[in-house]
């Protein structure tokens, strides 16, 4: 693939001339191209790819990189540094701590809620689930089933009901029972659906009113296979409900989930959790260095 930025080729040439005598055969043009391709292929997107490659070039120009192996190590470092630096832990230092789960359709919100609840149980915490997706067929039954597996209460209304109402009742129940964490499921919605985004804002207001300071976490669920649209999604959801972080699901597939990097970098949002399967335990904390390492496989350094 030809370089993404016109200036790139130029500075690369300068770089090569600079190192020509020492590194000519090791510091090859091919490698730079493979780096760009790897980033694009990971769904990092053009803007963040350019930003990473530029940062890398700066290091190379400053003499911090001597050969291909070092270039790759630096690439991982630079990439990891592109993630938002905010705390990636879930804030549960409230009683009840309220977690609101949002996202477009089918990304894994309901499943992730089941997993979070299970992990909380393992920590000795008592979660309560609130079935705020009153729209999709059998969405309530799905959450109820997760509640059964985890062994925690699920507050539900009928399908077609007002999500604000069930959220209100759910929070009341959480307080009454002295639950540690209330996790609210919501219907999947595309960020382009104005009315549904308004509805989400309303749900948020209901939460704020019922429990001042809540929600303590508003997590956006993004499917790891998502392409560049993920960035727009995150921007719109952030605007609607003041996101505190992002969950990347389905990382057990072959998608690299690079959109997480674009979202984190460009919108200044921490990635908080990684979904790695459909089982209760398939949830991991996010680690920028590990994630960056995973974006580039070992073959990148070889010719």
């Amino acid at each position: 693939m030809a370089q993404l930025r016109e200036g790139l080729a130029k500075s690369r040439k300068a770089l090569q001339q600079q190192f020509a005598s020492v590194l000519f055969d090791r510091f090859d043009e091919d490698l730079w191209e493979r780096i760009e391709e790897a980033l694009i292929y990971a769904d990092v997107g053009v803007d963040s790819t350019v930003s990473i490659v530029e940062a890398l070039e700066e290091q190379a120009n400053a003499g911090a990189i001597k050969d291909s192996a070092e270039l790759l190590a630096k690439l991982r470092e630079v990439t990891a540094n592109h993630f938002c630096k905010a705390d990636t832990r879930i804030d549960i230092a409230h009683r009840p701590a309220v977690i609101l789960m949002v996202g477009v359709n089918g990304t894994g919100k309901t499943t992730t809620i089941g997993k979070i609840a299970w992990h909380l149980k393992e920590l000795g915490k008592e979660p309560i689930l609130i079935a705020g997706d009153t729209f999709r067929a059998a969405a309530i039954e799905q959450l109820v089933e997760w509640g059964r597996r985890v062994g925690c209460e699920v507050v539900r209304h009928e399908r077609g009901g007002d999500p604000g109402a069930v959220v209100y009742d759910g929070l009341a129940a959480a307080e009454a029972r002295g639950a540690d964490v209330a996790i609210i499921d919501t219907a999947g919605r595309l960020h382009t659906q104005v009315n549904l985004m308004k509805e989400l804002e309303k749900v948020r207001r209901v939460i704020e009113k019922r429990i001042p300071g809540a929600p303590h976490e508003s997590l956006l669920c993004i499917d790891a296979t998502t392409g560049q649209n993920g960035l727009i999604q995150a921007r719109m959801f952030k605007e609607a409900v003041e996101l505190t972080g992002v969950v990347i699901t389905k990382m057990d597939g072959t998608a690299k989930g690079g959109i997480a990097l674009a979202v984190s970098h460009e919108l200044d949002l921490p990635i908080k959790l990684i979904g790695t399967g459909e089982r209760l335990e398939s949830l991991q904390p996010f680690d920028a260095v590990g994630f960056a390492a995973m974006l580039f496989d070992e073959s990148l350094g070889r010719r």
Binding site: D43, R136, A137, A138, N229, K250, A255
Partner: protein, 445 residues
């Protein structure tokens, strides 16, 4: 009409190049770069992008710029043609078995929209007079069976299930005989979402395929999918050999480049597009629409098409001759208006004129009713009056106004406008361009 960023960028890329002549090396290189970026932003797989851009470049180099288009538009035209030919030209029709039931199986990743698509396709087939039925083959996802049953209930379409403890292969097999007994002519099998690298679950699909031999296997693909779509499609292709794709969540603003990737690497057509959570938002796929969506400039493309379809080159040249000689008559005027109307809105026509910045066209609205009136008034004139408007005196005016169902006031306005246009045309003939070429289409009432 709104020019999108890509076409604006292409305009810039071609800046300095006059309207006519060949596309040169440098022009094409710059434009190709923009196309490459646009395709990447649209999530087309980078390998597919690479090949595609090469092809476009080869075709664009040295190609003659059509008279009615700017170089940017010419380039977009080539890109669009390549894109559409890549996306399209394969049947979107389903295969129906002479021996019912016709079996259709949905496959795909988790959350792509399979279960919803089962309901939508059933609804679609109902509308075609078929009697579909559904099979609940997802025994893994909590409440997946419940979900399908709810959709079936909404449509009044029967759903076969054996609970979540049975083997999906058995369920599918039994479902077929059940449908036969019930006299249903199409059977749609829902399956669990699975990763293409999940060996066990992929094997399950292979077994279902071997057991019930579906007539159609459809891969359900989320329009928001990124670069990985290629891996997914290739794996599903290799293991289950799907026949076509259902592209879902098209109601959002994802460009849907994944559809192009899948088409390019598997050769399998997109057959249906799903654009909403309601059961009726489902239709046959239109390759041209996605082609323009991927590029993010549907308006430009439809314009180019319209320009090609509507403007009769010879006629246009004749017209120009007359304009320059200032023998511009009401017949010409009417002719022009009709041309414009054939093409859609007046702003589209103006948008085709190279050199008019797109920003100027935004919000430009021309009332169709105004055209109707003009047309009626001109039709009420005699041939003699149309050729020599100067002879239209008071009594002629009253006759024309009455005959066209308008009034003297409107007619007077039209006559004034006509004179202005005539004058403008004369200026055009003499090389002086009027300040506002749009005024001829002002509202006469």
């Amino acid at each position: 009409m709104v020019f999108d960023s890509l076409s604006d960028k292409l305009q810039v890329a071609f800046d300095g190049l006059r309207r006519q002549g060949k596309l040169t090396d440098k022009d094409v290189e710059r434009a190709a770069r923009e196309i490459r970026l646009a395709l990447l932003e649209a999530d087309v797989n980078f390998k597919v992008v690479k090949e595609f851009v090469e092809k476009v470049k080869t075709r664009a180099l040295g190609s003659e710029v059509l008279e009615s288009l700017t170089p940017a538009q010419q380039f977009i035209k080539i890109v669009n043609e390549e894109l559409t030919s890549l996306m399209g030209s394969a049947s979107t029709k389903l295969t129906f078995s002479p021996r019912p039931p016709t079996v259709i199986m949905m496959v795909g990743l988790q959350g792509s929209g399979k279960t919803t698509a089962c309901g939508k396709l059933a609804n679609f087939l109902l509308a075609q007079g078929k009697s579909p039925a559904l099979v609940a083959g997802d025994v893994y996802r909590p409440a997946a069976i419940e979900q399908l049953k709810t959709l079936g209930g909404q449509l009044g379409v029967p759903v076969y299930d054996e609970g979540d403890q049975a083997d999906p292969v058995d369920i599918a097999k039994h479902g077929v005989s059940w449908a036969q007994d019930k006299g249903r002519d199409v059977l749609i099998i829902d399956t669990a979402g699975r990763l293409h690298i999940d060996e066990k679950l992929m094997e399950e699909l292979v077994r279902i395929r071997q057991t019930v031999k579906p007539h159609n296997i459809l891969l359900v693909l989320d329009a928001m999918t990124g670069q990985d779509a290629v891996n997914v499609a290739l794996q599903f292709q290799e293991r289950v050999r799907f026949d076509g794709v259902i592209l879902t969540k098209m109601d959002g603003d994802a460009r849907g480049g994944a559809a192009l990737s899948v088409r390019a690497v598997t050769g399998k057509p997109v057959k249906f597009a799903s654009a909403g959570e309601k059961l009726d938002s489902f239709e046959y796929f239109h390759p041209d629409r996605v082609a323009s969506r991927i590029l993010g400039m549907g308006d430009v493309l439809s314009l180019i098409e319209k320009a090609e379809r509507t403007i009769d080159e010879k006629k246009a040249r004749e017209m120009e001759q007359r304009l320059r000689k200032a023998t511009f008559t009401f017949d010409d005027f009417l002719d022009q208006i009709q041309q414009v109307r054939k093409m859609g809105s007046i702003s589209s026509l103006l948008g085709m004129i190279p050199g008019i910045p797109s920003a100027k066209l935004k919000g430009l609205q021309v009332d169709d009713k105004a055209f109707d009136k003009i047309q009626a008034m001109i039709s009420s004139m005699t041939p003699e009056e149309r050729r020599h408007p100067d002879i239209i005196n008071g009594s002629r005016r009253r006759r024309i106004a009455a005959g066209s169902g308008t009034d003297i006031h409107a007619l007077n306005q039209l006559l004034t406008q006509f004179k202005q246009v005539q004058k403008m045309m004369r200026q055009l003939g003499s090389g002086r361009v009027p300040k506002n070429p749009f005024q001829m289409f002002g509202n006469p009432s």
